[in-house]
């Protein structure tokens, strides 16, 4: 029993150390420091605001502060998803010298990539919490639903990270495919727009498991109402299944990592 405990301690020590490494390196290398975490969501918010203004011109309805708040909330969560997937996909290949030379549970690499992106998310979320009140936003208890929604997003992101990191180890061009998909995924996810603008076709984007989370976050934080539980439940179910499958797949392939990388 004591060896199990020791192994668990070792695993968390490793996870913590690798995560700290990723965070330190990222914040050290960029002159902008903490701005790193804010830049990406800020760009998305800028793009979203532009889209909204364009839509407002066409429809004749003015852009409300609510719309901008909604984009901020969506953009911060979207940045977590994009950042984590991007770092995690390359996490095994990028640490090839450790994967081939030192034996420990290899899931620490994608997991630490997700965790370090979660740190960026925390920074961005903190900045958003400071910025939102200036737009007239007031916190309510409904906003606490954001925590389980982020957990669902994390489960989905982690599951996908486990699959993509091992896929990229065997097929090096997976990261290019992922890069392209991530670039265009923003059009298939309600980040810059709300799912309801699609009218009766809204359910098509909602099949993307990230969509109900973003819609839900906007609902609980900005509109102070409960999310659409049916879609959140769908997203949670898919996320848990993907997490279980991703972990299973990763463990199946792990033994071949060192000789295949």
């Amino acid at each position: 029993m004591s060896t199990n405990h020791a192994e668990l301690t070792r695993f968390f020590d490793l996870l913590l150390t690798l995560t700290r490494r990723d965070i330190r390196v990222r914040y050290k290398q960029s002159v902008m420091g903490v701005l790193w975490a804010v830049l990406m969501p800020a760009l998305v918010v800028g793009a979203g605001a532009l889209v909204r203004v364009g839509a407002a011109q066409l429809s004749g309805t003015p852009v409300g502060m609510n719309d901008i708040e909604s984009i901020i909330v969506r953009a911060v969560a979207w940045a977590l998803f994009i950042g984590a997937i991007r770092f995690a996909t390359n996490s095994l290949v990028g640490n090839a010298n450790l994967v081939t030379k030192i034996a420990f549970p290899k899931e620490v690499f994608p997991l630490s990539a997700v965790l370090s992106s979660l740190f960026d998310f925390a920074v961005a979320a903190a900045v958003a919490l400071v910025a939102l009140p200036f737009l007239g936003w007031r916190p309510t208890f409904e906003a606490l639903w954001a925590l389980p929604l982020v957990l669902v997003l994390l489960a989905f992101t982690t599951g996908l990270s486990l699959v993509l990191s091992s896929a990229n180890l065997f097929f090096r061009d997976v990261k290019y495919v992922v890069e392209i998909l991530l670039t265009y995924a923003i059009f298939f996810t309600p980040v810059l727009y709300e799912a309801r603008v699609l009218g009766k076709w809204a359910y098509i984007v909602m099949f993307n498991p990230v969509a109900p989370v973003l819609e839900g976050l906007a609902a609980v934080v900005v509109d102070h109402r409960a999310p659409d539980w049916m879609w959140v439940g769908y997203s949670a179910a898919v996320s848990v299944l993907l997490l279980v499958f991703g972990y299973w797949l990763f463990k199946q392939l792990e033994g071949r990592f060192a000789e295949s990388i």
């Binding site: 301690t9 690798l18 010298n97």
Partner: protein
Amino acid sequence: MAAVNQPALSLRGVYKKFTRGERHDSLRDLIPALAKRMLTSMVGPPQLKEQEFWALQDVSFEIGRGETVGIVGHNGAGKSTLLKHLSGLIRPTSGTIDVRGRLSALIEVGAGFHHDLTGRENIFLNGVILGMSRAEVRRKFDEIVAFSGLAEFIDTPVKRYSSGMYARLGFSVAAHMEPDILVIDEVLSVGDMVFQAKGVEKMRQVARSGATVIFVSHNLRAVADLCPRSLLFHRGRLVQDDTTSAVIRSYMEQVKLNRSHATDAEVVIESVTVRGADKPRFDYTAGEKAWVDIRIKALRDAKRVACVLYLRDDQQYELFHTSTERLGHAPLDLREGETRTVTYELDLHLAAGSFHINSALHRYDINHKYDVMEPAATIFIRTPIDVRGAANLYPKVTISAG
């Protein structure tokens, strides 16, 4: 203490299969290959199965607690594959490996060092990666820094370190692990000479403290120094498990067996033997005499043959070179079937280390190489005084006031 009789490490019938040849490591290659395979399996004859080979074949051995064992073999003998199995990086195709205790593999110094992080941050990173807990690293931190001698640079990013400093920091972290079983692969050759001596001393300490040490190296001298027992691998098989000196002797024999010369050579080197005054041996004390007998045989008529002798160190740097012609002997004209034995008498004014003796048959006027045997033999030099490098200048030193 009940487990005291259990070996630290045991392998039983370990096999490892590797696939040689075509591997698809991108989707771009895989998708057309799959399409092709589907097509050919529908219309054409089945394709040959990809080539497979045994990287390890029926390997069984035990290493007792506290033993220090060397692993010797040529490139491709399976040493690295074996190490990767021991440290759990890859799994055998069949057979069992039992490791009892905490095993640390020192396969690369400074594994996981990140260039942008400081020495301090890298000590934690590397320590945890090698298997220490953060608490353990914190406890040993001062000791590690002191051992590395890099205290004043500890908050500098390691990308500003020299390669020697980098290696010293890496080795210092590794040396402060307290494993039950330590696997070392070619890492003692880091840092400057003073640090190397410190490293070897530290390894001895680890071995003395009761840890099991498995040492893999091309540096036979270091193996002979550290390990009483050695395992010899050849093409994935364990071929000998004996005292290190016996294993090294077989290893030398292998060098000769492995050799093949061009079949159209007119004259070839049949054997090279290094001996003391009386019998063949491979360890010498600096300043001793050694004789090298080179037996050559003409397979066809050969003209103007000169016999070359040269010496290289472990880094393949040529330290010494001469030939019968350079020493004033007329080139030999040999008829088919004729043999000669060329004997060189050498004064071994060398520093401590291993040196590779090589031989070649050369025709100088048309610059033609008949045959080369490299390495033909390896000798070890011991020195009573601590001198390093290649040449031995037999130093005496005095320090006077003023």
